[in-house]
Amino acid sequence: VFGRKGFADATVLDIAENAGLASGTVYQYFVDKGDILRYLLRELVERLHADTRMPADENGRLIVRESVLRYLEVYHEYASIFRAWWELLEPETEFTPAWLALHEKSRREMLHVVTDGQRKGIVHEAADPAITADLIVAAFERPVYNKIVLGWTDDSGEAELADFMGRLLGRGVAREAPRTRRR
């Protein structure tokens, strides 16, 4: 229901009807629609922590394409919750801090990827770690949001987005493609 109507327009009655229940039954479990969303968000955050870790290959490079595909998968599964969540981010609501915590975690992890990569000599020296980390977080969050929550497909499938992200973080778009072709 949150996915179809958005959080603001959804009512407990809609949610009850969708579940084939009386609204009284819903109120036995939840105080209000905010309470339902809080429950679903907790579930989503746990899922994100468990399932969207970015693995690295034997040289310490992130395996980007697979990570993007898995992120897209979780996003699809929880599209309605993401939609309601984004709707409630700005202006700030009680749901903003949970988002911020998740966002901070992504930024910290990405900062580590950049600084660690520079130490290993696989990330460009010229990359400013803090700025680059935030740009990569943006490159993950926004295109996926546009595609799944706003329905802006850009005539491109999800595999193409994942390929492109892999290329972007891999060697960029302006350098020659590596000689060995991807499978």
């Binding site: 966002h103 990330v123 740009l135 943006a138 778009v173 350098r175």
Partner: protein, 189 residues
């Protein structure tokens, strides 16, 4: 050329129109779209609510005018800049000035919302300008298109994050330099 008119039929080159737009930027930046009351907005522009309604039918019409003002500035500045780095910097700089509109756009750009088409139109136009500014070594037009959209999405999200104070405020020249570097050269050597 005919002077443009607002939805309520008033000329857009009047000082009151400019005052209302400026007050709108501040109000949207501080309180967001939903939190902005037309009475407060009019008062900070030094006009009555009645005067507001002579220019705009309602808050949505006001948002459209504010967005189109932002859009015109962004397109002009990005177009005038050469190369991806300077175009990215121009985009970031105008959008920081118009962060109230960017914030309101984030609030209003929802699945199937009317305002969504405004945001999408600007994204498409800017993505083309970014794609045009990529180095000639990117030969496939599909890659250029995807890269242009990616630049836009990154810059847009960056501005939203900055406006919401989720990230620190940094010199935009440095940010644009890193955008250029990341898009063209990637993360890994």
């Amino acid at each position: 050329l005919q002077p443009s008119k607002t939805s309520a039929g008033q000329a857009t080159d009047s000082p009151t129109f400019a005052l209302l737009l400026a007050a709108g930027h501040d109000a949207f930046a501080d309180k967001g779209y939903a939190g902005t009351r037309l009475a407060d907005l009019s008062a900070s522009a030094g006009v009555t609510t009645g005067a507001f309604y002579r220019y705009f039918e309602n808050k949505a019409a006001f948002y459209r005018a504010a967005f189109e003002d932002y859009e015109a500035h962004v397109l002009q500045e990005v177009n005038a800049a050469e190369g991806l780095r300077l175009r990215a910097e121009a985009w970031l700089s105008v959008s920081r000035d118009f962060r109230g509109v960017v914030r309101a756009a984030q609030e209003l750009t929802r699945l199937d919302s009317k305002e969504s088409s405004l945001s999408r139109r600007l994204r498409d136009a800017c993505a083309d300008l970014f794609a045009d500014s990529l180095p000639g070594s990117v030969t496939r037009s599909r890659q250029r298109r995807l890269a242009g959209l990616m630049v836009y999405d990154i810059l847009n999200h960056y501005t939203v994050m900055e406006a919401a104070a989720w990230i620190p405020k940094r010199p935009l020249g440095a940010v644009a330099e890193q955008v250029d570097r990341l898009i063209c050269d990637g993360l890994y050597m």
